[in-house]
Symmetry: C2
Subunit: 250 residues, 2 copies
Amino acid sequence: MVKADEYTLESVRESLIRQEDTIIFSLIERARFPLNSPTYERNYSSIPNFSGSLFDFILHQTEDIQAKTGRYMNPEENPYEEKLSPSIVSHYNFSQFLYPAAASININKKIRKVYFNNILPLFIAFGNDGNYAQTAANDLSILQAISKRIYYGKFVAETKFRKSQCEYEPLIRAKDRKALMNLLVDKRVEEIVLKRVEKKAMVFGEEVSIDSKIKGKYKVDPSIVYNLYNKWIIPMTKDIEVEYILRRLD
Amino acid sequence: MVKADEYTLESVRESLIRQEDTIIFSLIERARFPLNSPTYERNYSSIPNFSGSLFDFILHQTEDIQAKTGRYMNPEENPYEEKLSPSIVSHYNFSQFLYPAAASININKKIRKVYFNNILPLFIAFGNDGNYAQTAANDLSILQAISKRIYYGKFVAETKFRKSQCEYEPLIRAKDRKALMNLLVDKRVEEIVLKRVEKKAMVFGEEVSIDSKIKGKYKVDPSIVYNLYNKWIIPMTKDIEVEYILRRLD
């Protein structure tokens, strides 16, 4: 990806745009399966030395493999689990662009809760087809994609801070959350993001035939993707930006 | 998904069409990363009790979790690894549509070799960005999607056999591979598949902006997706169909 001085407001925005594709692809892929509620039932299966749902088990085991193989050495990646194995991969010189005292902000619990309570029920049909492992793997792909997008708010905030340090510093010292939010937010950009993700959901979710596209039938309702960004992803990203900025002078 | 008597030539084709999206999404997602050759170097990292590449490690560990959580109880799914943990998930009544003596045909080694030697070099840029865990996870997604597509040839063959048993039986007894291939293959359908996957690669791989699509710039070259199907996926699926049919009377 990018090295230290390559993080610019431009490059960060480009990454956010690319991440939209990943989020929408992963939603469309999850929608192949029905809800498959046994995936989320505590102790549905008897897993030795583990108390939790199949999803919890797959989340923990998968993040642990990814931790071992170095995924979370990249500051752009944040695991959901707290206790993971150390990396066994040779050192790679990832750029350390973020301000260390502010880099560790974490709202994983909230993201997870929002996904299962507010997002999943909107776009998944009821039913059970027995494909619990695939269901959980797809949930995890969505959670990883959303998490990366939201925590990218730290990179957004850092680029903005570096560009206008004099404007930010007095507001940080005054702990003026509201003024910081106003300074960080660009409503015009938000509107563009919302329109674009809705359009992407149409383009990626349509049935493509060789004669023409079958209009109006989507694998995930584009208005749901719009709302996912409008109600959850953008607000949580802004929260991360403000929390990050507030600690930027610690 | 579908139960025993719901597998029809129609439902099998619908699934194959849907699987095209999964394959193309996964290729586009892999293309976010450069080659990242350390992912594939034997003993690049020192993994205790494991001799192989990071990819081998992630493949084995991930398939093992998926095996534990029941993925391969579904006859539509085939793991690459041979020695995997048993499932700990409560029994789900997956349809047993395939003929048992023919169901176990396996060309995993070939699929793996083709992916790394012939497919990956075509659409991935050289380079190293340190994201080996993500790279391997994306490779595995592609391999799983391609594998499912190719082994779906068994379901294709079974539906065709059931529909025209009298035509197939003498050819199976005569072990007449060539005549069986001719009977199984539908060139017209193949042409449609090739055109459609090329079009899907265009639709899914375009830069989508809110004003218009940026034509002619794709995340994965559509002609590569065409060739992937034409040179590898369709021929390997047909091989599976013929091998399956040859054992259909065992």
